[in-house]
Symmetry: C2
Subunit: 248 residues, 2 copies
């Protein structure tokens, strides 16, 4: 039994990928998925565009950005990942070359699992190592559960990305920003005053919304003046307006 990996399952055991799996099965699951743990330093690239990624990563601690950088040095943040979030599943399961860069924004620990064992084969009698690969009924059940969890993970991811497209497809910076903030406000936890936090600093926020940082700043200033938005650093509050009522 691998203590470190078992610990990590404990950390993110409530993650989508391992739901409905009993702690007593963690060892076997770790075996099926060839799980291991790797650490990355702040600013270190976990993988580059063009690489073949053979594992799905799960953030145990720290923070990761999936980003796309072009010739000119412009970079766009595609996803911001924090503890419990998974990444790379698209490439690991689809066999595509990476089209993005993956970078640790802080010192980061990643649980790496290979989906190959549950995606490939077990074509019954054809397999020599029948006992291990085709395995017991129990193992079969585990594979089924993992596959189902993987499908749910993909669904959530896709759902999230669809929201991302929605923000990006607004034409004006102001709309992009409000679309994003409203989304974070709805999903995340806010205090009793309606104040919530985002994970980005200004430059990152601009890269996420694909706009210029200074332009974003001035748009934010305008929104503050108009009384639509309050913010200080990365804490925000959206002021709900009831214009239509006020006008009556």
């Amino acid at each position: 039994m691998n203590t470190a990996i078992n610990e990590s399952f404990g950390l993110i055991g409530n993650s989508q990928l391992f739901s409905d799996i009993a702690p007593s099965d963690w060892d076997e699951v770790a075996d099926i998925l060839e799980a291991d743990i790797k650490s990355f330093g702040r600013g270190e690239y976990i993988a580059y565009s063009g690489d073949r990624l053979r594992y799905i990563g799960i953030v145990l601690s720290g923070r990761i950005h999936i980003m796309k950088d072009d010739f000119y040095g412009n970079s766009v943040i595609l996803t911001d990942l924090n503890r419990g979030d998974a990444f790379g599943e698209t490439f690991a399961c689809g066999g595509f070359e990476l089209t993005v860069n993956i970078r640790a924004e802080e010192d980061t620990e990643v649980l790496r699992i290979k989906p190959e064992g549950i995606l490939k084969g077990s074509a019954g009698a054809k397999n020599k190592n029948l006992e291990k690969d085709c395995g017991s009924y129990h193992r079969q059940e585990l594979v089924l559960t993992l596959l189902r969890n993987l499908v749910k993970l993909f669904s959530s991811k896709n759902f999230f990305i669809t929201g991302r497209i929605e923000h990006l497809s607004k034409k004006k910076t102001e709309d992009k920003l409000l679309s994003y903030l409203t989304d974070v406000e709805r999903r995340g936890k806010k205090d009793k005053n309606g104040v919530f936090e985002i994970n980005f600093n200004r430059q990152e926020l601009a890269d996420y919304l694909a706009v210029d940082r200074s332009a974003l700043s001035s748009v934010m200033g305008r929104l503050r003046k108009r009384g639509v938005l309050e913010f200080k650093k990365n804490k925000f509050r959206i002021i709900k307006r009831t214009d239509s009522l006020k006008e009556i």
Copy 2:
């Protein structure tokens, strides 16, 4: 045996979702997935934002747009679907309410399949209808294959969407357009002269890239003048430039 559904499997049998499944198994698969076929007229809405979609759709014929419409009547085309393409998997498998509208752009036939049968349970002995649900070893194998195919479908979809984000995240219309066209050129089939076709008219293309139609038109005109792009209606040719060499 349902002839229509079997025929449809023949039509899109090479689709990702049904790969590695023998024609002799189609009937059983159709049963597992509760497959049926439904037709929609041109312009008809297949589902609205807010609906619960319980099936995955596969386009047998015709054409479908997944779109997001806001208050002001602005609409953004998220995806353009043609024969063989699947849709709705995110919502059907994730249990989310639809956040998009789905509309038939032409007379369209859709194969509908419910993923519930392969996502839910079969918790062995707990199930009363053991013979049917837990089923034979063969049925178990089919479920496994379908799940794996579903994962691959999600991977491809995600990969595709990532590209979509890349286009949208360009700041200028010109870059959005070229990013999109280059992508289509690479994926799709072009003739010996490098001419390829897109599925959109101008308004649709503008809605896809989230820009104004007339602004798009004028940008296209400029690109033509500059000799970067040739086009007529929905046929395009990108002229590869070797500026750096010419300047020497």
